[in-house]
Symmetry: D3
Subunit: 152 residues, 6 copies
Amino acid sequence: MLQMNKPMQAGIGKSALLLVLANSHELEEADTRVKESGFSFCLGKTGSMDLQKVVSAIETAAKRNELVNETLYREMHALYHAILEALEGVTRGQIMLGDVMRTVGLRFSIVRGRPYENKAEGEWIAVALYGTIGAPIKGLEHETTGLGINHI
Amino acid sequence: MLQMNKPMQAGIGKSALLLVLANSHELEEADTRVKESGFSFCLGKTGSMDLQKVVSAIETAAKRNELVNETLYREMHALYHAILEALEGVTRGQIMLGDVMRTVGLRFSIVRGRPYENKAEGEWIAVALYGTIGAPIKGLEHETTGLGINHI
Amino acid sequence: MLQMNKPMQAGIGKSALLLVLANSHELEEADTRVKESGFSFCLGKTGSMDLQKVVSAIETAAKRNELVNETLYREMHALYHAILEALEGVTRGQIMLGDVMRTVGLRFSIVRGRPYENKAEGEWIAVALYGTIGAPIKGLEHETTGLGINHI
Amino acid sequence: MLQMNKPMQAGIGKSALLLVLANSHELEEADTRVKESGFSFCLGKTGSMDLQKVVSAIETAAKRNELVNETLYREMHALYHAILEALEGVTRGQIMLGDVMRTVGLRFSIVRGRPYENKAEGEWIAVALYGTIGAPIKGLEHETTGLGINHI
Amino acid sequence: MLQMNKPMQAGIGKSALLLVLANSHELEEADTRVKESGFSFCLGKTGSMDLQKVVSAIETAAKRNELVNETLYREMHALYHAILEALEGVTRGQIMLGDVMRTVGLRFSIVRGRPYENKAEGEWIAVALYGTIGAPIKGLEHETTGLGINHI
Amino acid sequence: MLQMNKPMQAGIGKSALLLVLANSHELEEADTRVKESGFSFCLGKTGSMDLQKVVSAIETAAKRNELVNETLYREMHALYHAILEALEGVTRGQIMLGDVMRTVGLRFSIVRGRPYENKAEGEWIAVALYGTIGAPIKGLEHETTGLGINHI
Ligand SMILES: [Mg+2]
Ligand SMILES: [Mg+2]
Ligand SMILES: [Mg+2]
Ligand SMILES: [Mg+2]
Ligand SMILES: [Mg+2]
Ligand SMILES: [Mg+2]
């Protein structure tokens, strides 16, 4: 097995992924770690055959948790493209669910903060998704993930 | 913050993601955990503007670590599609690197095992990628991830 | 600023774009210019979260304005692929609207004529789209455009 | 005209294509040929503007004809990806029907068996589609085909 | 097994597919059948990891066999889009070969003629591809097909 | 012909499109108009079968004309995604040139400024492309366009 000598810094994307992957007893640790990085975040769940509901659930959570200013298109635009990019990872080729007879059950995390040392790089946003995708029949599913990152 | 009351079982995809996200001091723990699940795995790194080299590095690692039987097309086919699906998450829309003037620096994990309780479900393979994508200039990059899962 | 010494000829695509971009007081000039090229055209508007309505609005306008012969599949086929290509520019990656929680407000132009000097090249059709794309909330949108060209 | 000196062996994909292309009087011959190869198969028809119905019709036929074991996700997963790949050929770019104002009338074949000499390669599944795609108006359509192959 | 009571007419696409699927001893029959439909056609082979060579081989064959008039962009445009559509079926998601470490060995047919009863529908062109796709290692490959159709 | 009663405001995207469409004698007018909107911009040309060169030409022009701060990834990231989105319009389905045997000759404009009344919306960037795409043979080409817009 290859040795990983140079661990990468915990970035905003890694933070988002660790949050979305954390079991309930790991959440506290992940929570502390992400906050130490100075990042804000929220977590949520969504499940549907309807992609629109998935997008909407993530947008709503981001607004309610004040991770984005919903009156600024600039911020909603940044969030929206991060969501779409994360969905590319989840759907792997065609951003479609019910139309191709599949459904998802996803946890999502949205993380906002300053991941670069240079302060001028400003704020960025990461959307991580993790859960299952498969036929609309319990058990006929496998895991899936996606990560979208954008400047905000 | 939403409470995550029903932690998902550590699946093969989650195992692959945790391995690829682990810092060097976390690797031992991740290693133990994945082996306890009865999964085999390997880890590696690859960085290039040339997508072919990325695919090749993952395939070579899988063969060398005997996670796939390279004389069986069945196994190479399962691995190949898992790699392509993981790359969809990394590239988010068009599986291209140098042609659109971007480069990646990725860690990858390949995990093989039986993620379903029903023994008849047999073996599955997961390929997880995590690292950075961006311009071929140091620092002009953000994180990216991808996960591909297939029956093998 | 770079000098543009060799202006391109006003082609069928440029005509379609100028028509769709023209303000009401510019329309007359654009109208004259396009007709001088011997092109036929029509203009319309469509707005929806439902892609089918967008495609349908353009097809209907083309038929009503007799830019295509709706009883000939040959002509409808040429138009259809020009529309799809224009929508690629508008949606930039996945031809989807409501499913990914976005809506469009578009003007469209359809131009038909002989853009090549060689008469044997026959007739071609151009579909240009220009307007806004964004969340289904007023103001949360930016501009978008697309152009599809086909032989007919 | 080029001479085809080295005919390819009738593989599982070719079998699926010949079945789906066969007229009623050719079906018996195709049927015999495919069975001689030791392959199992079924044939069906589906027509819709709704992609979900197309996917569902193929999955249902595969289950009813016992070409897949519907209680095993492993088998349903193999079938599902073969269907999606076949639909890529049918839709050529964006796996969409009604949303982009088009409909299909398709015959499908599903073939399962051992196409490789090496017994260790095990079973594979092929899904072939052939029919018409076009506007939801009789006659405004052309032919289309697709083939998806997966290990099962 | 479902009965196919209403066999479809042998269209231009079906002709192209049957030609490309024919073994050497079946070619004569296919040849006769296609010519009886009044279609012109050619057959060829191409194999490469380089997509450009595949496109080029098909274009060259079409020109040499005078299926298209290479001095007319109108005809070359019709052919080109038919080739691209056929390649969507072969590559199923991303039109890429070597970049994603795969190679093809393909037979192709190009058929030109009048497939519709209504003479005003004029000429159409079909490009069919059939062969194998897989790793650049003998035997690690499965079958693939694609069909593109366009008015010309 | 439909009347366009409510002309849209000249946005940043429309400005970019008008610049890229302007003939040499129209450039002065377009130049004045765009500057009156308070936008900064540059114009350039690029032609290649190599997509990397196209991306690179646009990035280089943006840096040289100081439309972006090349030491800030935030700005380069905004520009990069605007370029990719514009290329989706130009390539309409697969962001590829030489690999699918086609070449482009493009003019490009890059416009930066504040397109929204609300000052808090900050700066945005638009990349417009217009030119020809086709076979690498003079004359075998048609027009193409693309527009990408991003917050910066
Ligand atoms: Mg990015
Ligand atoms: Mg799957
Ligand atoms: Mg074209
Ligand atoms: Mg395959
Ligand atoms: Mg078509
Ligand atoms: Mg946008």
